[in-house]
Symmetry: C2
Subunit: 404 residues, 2 copies
């Protein structure tokens, strides 16, 4: 059985495709079940038989190239086992009913927490099952893996969009500031990726602000004024999650929380837009890349989709080799000129619930740019283009009306 | 001489490429000059020699596939000739100095106004020059042409993004409203294009609001509540320019104006987001497609780029045939199963300064959807994909550092 959880990425269906393909290819399984809407749907027995739908290379390939989550998702937190065991019992009764031997949970930090809790319960009741966490997130904030499946495609979209926005912003012979707000709660990986949009002779974005460094509003205005001495059109990349020097989110007057207590941002770019308007008074615009960062399949990274598929397949092999309580991970092969990543796994307890942020030594001392090692880290992950199918002028994706 | 003006589109450089290619191919010109930053730059003699840079098919092709405006733009309004003739004299002195015989001005409504004023002045002083307006705008709001170069690419981006946002919005088993705000001051063509994202079995966007119809907030909330009886995730497409039943923009408390007195919007989606939150209280998100609508070359329409190039070439032929005071236009060939458009021209005075909005008979009686003829009108314009070159994982566009 396989499920998806957390926020979407352009690559999470590639991982699902890898799990299905690996499972069918192994010949070791009678059925490959999908839990619709993750653990939440599993509790209501919303289960589909995947081996029937994905019985051809063509269908597997279509799944790889369909954005968001074919099985749907949830943001559902299992209660601590000390508080209540009722839901655990229900999950394992369903596992038993369907003769589930292996459970693959594709998701981010919160999903790894769920996988870990299920593993602990299985050990407690002596239920023989292999539980494998399979990482994904555009945020790239998981420990134990060189990077997360899904990050490369989001990075490619963000850097491509940034380059196009730079072209758009340069056309008027008039001072302007364009602020591009990028996703990333506490980790600035995706914001950093927009720096790859720079070209010879065109060093935009000029300022790049990650949440790892406190954001100083006065210094920001000073930097813009300084840049205006040599530039006409200034481009700023800013993470939604930057905090001011008092530790408050810039948009702290306008925040909501999701069910995991994660803070939902809106408006960091707008706050800075108003600040520039008040303090400098020039033309200013803010652009929020928004959800397209996690679903713009039409500009996905081939490297990312290939790796995501391989991680899914390797997860099946890891389960068949008798592993459990592990999270699959990518290990970059050091040395050599060519980028290479191997798929391995780590004990899930050692990686779940920790956030991997950008190392401070990869951020410039001025706090408004990234350093070369961070470029070099991201660059291989956005390589290669994906040919999606087009039908009547629009990308043709798999029907997901079973989620309705 | 050729210049670009107004807002960017993904296709305006294709038209510029068409003009350059047509001019060189004709063998009738000694030089092909470009006015940098349109009429405003021309007044300061910011002139480049284009035939030197674009001396190969490869360079012409690269220009076609570079977004925004290679020559830069302006939003500059020539004073009425009654008020002052100083700037007109300056322009024509420069025309004389450079022996300009033909002037091509690529732009939208405001640019056609400029072309018309220059034509009138030329006639007045008896200066022999052919002045040709060449249309472009993502808004598709120009009279005299079946559609505008640039609209098809913007429509393809908007519909593609809409489809991907629909996939993104469906993953949670939880009621939600997603509001997508699309550009378009007074004309809803681009917002209408997002309806093409619908698929068999997936009728999202569910509600489509164009500025041609007054927006009733109470009816909007009623429609969402009604849809929630049969749908879980509701997608709304709304034009930035919708007005309430009192004739006020929804975001009328937060408006700016540009130099032409055009109203600059921000926040129609945010206003509706707050409204849904207050009145319904479900999960709600607004997404502003923002400037990517006019610069996302990586998902441009091949039909649009081809037509835009052809319009530029035809403009040169029109000038060489002795025409002046005309705007180039596309005429859809009626009858037959296959879409076909011819390039013709119209007297510029008969088309400039009029806005072409969506005919009310192409909008549903309920005011929240489009009718079949509008689908049929837009569909051919988004056909065909463009292969941009990629370098190190990102689209490779022509160097525009001359605009710095």
């Amino acid at each position: 059985m396989v499920g998806q959880s957390g926020g979407p990425t352009s690559a999470i269906n590639a991982t699902l495709a890898g799990v299905i393909d690996g499972a069918i290819e192994s010949g070791e399984y009678e059925h490959v079940y999908g839990a619709v809407n993750g653990i939440e749907g599993l509790l209501s027995k919303r289960i589909v038989e995947l081996e029937k739908t994905f019985n051809s290379d063509e269908m597997i390939k279509s799944l790889v190239r369909t954005p968001a989550m074919y099985l749907g998702s949830c943001r559902y937190k299992l209660p601590s086992l000390d508080v209540s065991s009722e839901q655990y019992e229900r999950v394992f009764n369903i596992f038993e009913e369907y003769s589930i031997t292996d459970f693959f949970y594709i998701g981010g930090n919160d999903s790894m927490d769920t996988a870990m809790k299920l593993s602990a319960y299985a050990r407690k009741i002596g239920y023989d099952i292999h539980i494998i966490g399979v990482p994904k997130t555009i945020d790239n904030d998981l420990f134990g893996t060189d990077h997360t499946p899904g990050f490369g495609s989001a990075a490619k979209f963000a850097a491509t969009s940034m380059r196009e926005i730079v072209y758009d912003s340069m056309i008027y012979n008039k001072k302007s500031v364009t602020i591009v707000e990028i996703m990333g709660r506490n980790a600035g990986w995706l914001t950093a990726a927009t720096a790859l949009a720079r070209m010879d002779g065109l060093r935009a974005p000029h300022l790049v602000y990650l949440p790892e460094v406190p954001f100083d509003k006065d210094k920001f205005i000073d930097s813009i004024n300084e840049l205006f001495k040599t530039q006409r059109n200034i481009i700023v990349a800013v993470s939604e999650g930057v905090k001011d020097t008092n530790g408050n989110y810039l948009d702290h007057e306008n925040l909501n929380e999701d069910e995991f207590g994660n803070v939902l941002h809106s408006g960091t770019g707008k706050v800075l837009e108003q600040l520039v308007l008040c303090k400098i008074g020039c033309k200013v615009r803010s652009v929020e890349l928004n959800v397209l960062q996690r679903c713009a399949m039409h500009i996905a990274s081939k490297t990312d989709l290939d790796e995501s598929f391989n991680v899914g397949k390797a997860a099946v092999n890891a389960a068949l080799a008798g592993n459990s309580d592990v999270m699959m991970c990518l290990k970059r092969v050091r040395g050599g000129d060519v980028y290479k990543c191997a798929v391995e796994y780590e004990n899930i307890e050692s990686v779940a619930n920790f956030e991997k942020t950008v190392p401070l030594e990869w951020i410039s001392e001025s706090g408004d740019d990234i350093k070369q090692p961070l470029y070099d880290y991201i660059k291989p992950l956005i390589q290669g283009e994906v040919t999606v199918s087009y039908d009547d002028g629009l990308p043709s994706y798999l029907d997901v009306s079973h989620l309705l």
